[in-house]
Symmetry: C2
Subunit: 574 residues, 2 copies
């Protein structure tokens, strides 16, 4: 845009939306879409009529199966990419999850991979032929990464992010990018360019955020695995609300360089990239493949730590020869979770005990202090950051994830009141105040580490608790605009603990998950959270738990996640 008359930001959006629509193959546009008051659309893709039997088989397969069939040549990369592309476009029409769509480019790449396998007999890498979706902020050469900012429309990446180079070197096929909230600093997904992403289990509920496009796309199996980012829960909240596996790795375990972001230069509690998938095996393949490419030689902020097979075999946790000891965080002494969340924790406890493991209670320490300190750090100069970014077009800063008047044609509103808006812009603090906050955070981390270490006296296994099991949020997916509290995820970012979301296989059921009598409230937010709950409104939402290990313990957390997952699956099948 070099026009002398400045274009209004809404005009820039219109042009961008036209380009987005043009990227969708016309023959995949559906005329049989369910009306907006059909809330649960999770099964629609298979019934849409657009997918062949084989495409349904492919897209329902887990990452392990896909990789096996791709490397053996049983399924070609082109047919796998085609299947997921089609299903992604179906998903997009149901829940509005995509931003950049580049299927032609992906199919050319897939054809190249097929050719390579055919001529050499070898795969390009451990992710050969696997379609992987990316959160909008992950740069791919030649494509935009608007991150929901109108001001960034038309900025085409001049090179790949390090992670894209690594995924392509591992054989992956990139084909779509996914929706986010403006600024990335909301736990829901809505912006002025692409609008709102809905939850496929109940479209009156949020998909979560900020990786909400990934969450709903993967839940609808429009992608077998995606990359999200997480500064306070942005991988885990969409994983939790959409019933998926999602890993928040520790700072620097997955290379971030070359992707765009908010709050750049805020390095005390940084955002991290990590995988979301329908299977735990997918997360493991992702983490191993990334580490195998020595990301620390590509990104100066990446940690020199190769994948450790010993740590995956629980070298620091009894090597699988003794039972594990899990500690259950029932609530954080700030907000009591809703009945479905507590039911999932109970179920997990029973399942683990049945599987021969130990489960003790976790005593929460300083959760509110830790979370408030994190907010102080994140907001120290956030307003200046947002203002600088939005200044070129004058696009408004979004202050709430509430449904807009324009959206009511498209989305069912299930709660008559509006959610609270975020407080108005906070002016920035001084560098000295920021340093004080950093220092306080270090002290809080130290106290929490000491607290964890001290559990050695309670476990009876000669070592402290192996992992914590916690809610992912005080609720399952809430109605649009009502996900205003990320304290159950943000605390682990502030402590830099490895955190994994695991679906329990359970869903909110109004018959089982009845509202409880009011308890003695911890806080005003506890009271409003309690009042929010109505099983009819929250119905169909998946229920998940969070497994927390120590810093840079991705291998052991995945391995312990397998233990928990197996116990839950055994329990569900009883």
């Amino acid at each position: 845009m070099s026009a002398a008359v400045k274009q209004h930001w809404t005009e820039i959006v219109k042009e961008k939306k036209i380009r987005q629509a043009a990227a969708i193959p016309k023959e995949w546009i559906l005329t049989n879409l369910p009306p907006k008051d059909v809330l649960n659309v999770i099964d629609f893709p298979e019934k849409s009529g657009l997918l062949s039997e084989k495409e349904i088989e492919i897209t329902n397969a887990e990452v392990g199966t896909l990789l096996h069939n791709l490397s053996s040549g049983a399924w070609s990369a082109v047919e796998v990419t085609t299947a997921f592309s089609k299903r992604a476009i179906i998903a997009h029409q149901l829940v509005n999850c995509l931003t950049e769509i580049f299927i032609e480019r992906a199919l050319a790449r897939a054809a190249h991979l097929d050719e390579h396998l055919k001529t050499t007999g070898k795969v390009v890498g451990p992710l050969h032929g696997l379609p992987i979706s990316l959160k909008d902020q992950v740069n791919i050469e030649g494509l935009e990464s608007t991150m929901g900012y109108v001001s960034w429309i038309g900025q085409y990446a001049t090179k790949n992010s390090a992670l894209v180079d690594i995924l392509e070197a591992s054989g992956a096929v990139l084909y779509v990018k996914t929706n986010v909230p403006q600024t990335l600093m909301f736990p829901e997904t809505f912006n002025h360019i692409f609008g709102r992403t809905l939850n496929p289990y109940n479209r009156a509920l949020t998909s979560g955020g900020s990786s909400g496009g990934e969450g709903s796309l993967i839940a609808l199996r429009g992608s077998p695995m995606g990359v999200g980012s997480d500064i306070g829960g942005s991988i885990r909240i969409p994983s939790a609300f959409n019933g998926l596996y999602g890993l928040r790795p520790s700072y620097g375990r997955v290379p971030y360089t070359g992707s765009v972001n908010s709050l750049e230069g805020q390095e005390a509690i940084p955002s991290v990239l990590g995988p979301i998938s329908n299977s735990l095996g997918g997360l493991k393949s992702f983490m191993r493949s990334v580490a195998a490419q020595s990301p620390w030689l590509k990104d100066p902020m990446a940690v020199r730590k190769p994948w450790s097979e010993a740590e995956y075999h629980l070298s620091d946790h009894g090597e699988g020869k003794t039972p594990l000891c899990f500690a259950m965080l029932w609530h954080d002494e700030f907000v009591l979770p809703h009945p479905p969340v507590l039911r999932a924790l109970e179920r997990t406890k029973e399942a683990l005990i049945r599987a021969g493991h130990q489960v003790i209670d976790w005593k929460p320490l300083n959760h509110l202090d830790i979370f408030m300190n994190a907010i102080t750090i994140w907001t120290a100069a956030a307003t200046e950051d947002y203002r600088t970014v939005t200044a070129p077009t004058g696009e408004p800063l979004i202050g709430s994830m509430a449904l807009t008047a324009e959206e009511l044609d498209q989305v069912v509103k299930v709660i008559p009141t509006d959610p609270p808006t975020f407080p108005p812009a906070i002016e920035g603090v001084s560098a000295y105040e920021l340093w004080r906050a950093h220092k306080k955070r270090r002290e809080l981390r130290q106290a929490h580490m000491d607290h964890w270490n001290a559990t050695v006296s309670q476990t009876g296994i000669g070592r402290p608790v192996d992992a914590i099991i916690s809610p992912c949020a005080p609720y399952t997916a809430p109605p649009h605009g009502f996900n205003t509290n990320a304290s159950y995820t943000g605390i682990w970012n502030a402590l830099d603990y490895t955190a994994l979301v695991i679906p329990t296989g359970l869903f909110v059921d109004p018959v089982i998950d009845v509202k409880k009598p009011a308890h003695s409230f911890f806080s005003e937010i506890d009271k409003s959270t309690y009042e929010l709950y109505d099983p009819e409104i929250f119905k169909y939402a998946p229920i998940t738990i969070q497994l927390i290990g120590r810093t840079l313990e991705e291998e052991a957390v995945i391995a312990m996640g397998e233990v928990v997952d197996a116990a839950l699956k055994a329990s569900t099948s009883l």
Copy 2:
């Protein structure tokens, strides 16, 4: 001090100095000390008459020999501790290097270790019986860590720092702490409590800083190994100026928690702890022993990275089967080093080529930008930090390391002019400006990493340059007050590269190291650095080099350091 009338800060200092003097065993106070105009006192301890033949043998031994004889019982911990304690007190009387002195406590600990070895036949740990000196800031329960701040006198640590716990668990004996500059943010060593530390090779020259007490103590063999800290060169400058081996590990490799510090909360280019010793083997023992105690379970900022024997065997550098390729940084395009420094680089190059390795030139990239960005980050709120700390007593903030009028009775002044003073206190910046500086630094790190990776096209060994060899400073130890430029060390802190100082065995020799004709100056500082050089003034100073590897590559840097060290020793003996 609960007196109603506030004590003047100089009175507080007097009381502290009396307590320090009382900690020195009377029978070790010498009456035959050389007068102040005897500049080179490096040989004095052996001639002092205070040490027995065996004590001289013990204190001249390298760490490897000490550990061997201690673990075999050939030398008792008590006799080794006694020998180093005596020699430390001699050193202190020559160069004023100590702060806290706690020899009785050390001897009790040593006796306990001897008893343990005698009764169990086993060592307590890999550092059994080894005396280790600590920079003043490292907290030991029951002792002060004033860090040269009058306001911190009388603050006794209520618990050990994590590193002290680790060293004691490894069997070390702690016996003295060492001098620093007020604020730690000077590359020399002078404060209002303990005064100035001198260079034992030439007492008219600085010992460097901020770990200057360690540097001169270890050079005089009053300690076989010490712990320093390094935010911009504070381990390496004293190592360089005193002819020692010193390692700046990467951020978080050695646990910092529980030690006091300046600029707390400044985490973008943080200070790190690391070892200084008379031998490279000492540094290796230190790093292995620390890693063996899983510091990441004690300090939340410590990196989960066990010692890697594979990396020590150069798994990322040809596994010792191919020649290494070193790149020589002759100068940083900002300040040309003095003739002795360039002579040492030439010698190192020849020695490595003779040993069968490759040496190419390193093209400096953005040195001034990187260093100025680091200064922006360090000073963002430094003034507020210093003012807060010094407020209780009103002690003046030190603005220059120039010799004071009071010191001229004790110290020879070899340059008639005074050195430049540091600029007056800078007011702090906003958190947003600090974030911008962090972002710029990340970009500079990325560019430097890309630059390093690109050397793969020049080495001919199929991998980029294995390590960089660089000056440690543009000069050998300069006269007191004239060490005003830490750019040759600070750049590696900003890039978080592992950096090792290696003595070349060479010393400034007025006959060889003649002043060169003026060159075309890069900068005003280059000009004043050139003008500063006079071989008569710099004589006797040790000459050292710096070996730089990548982030978290401590194992490989030590191993490559052994290669360089062996080549230099072979070359010196020719």
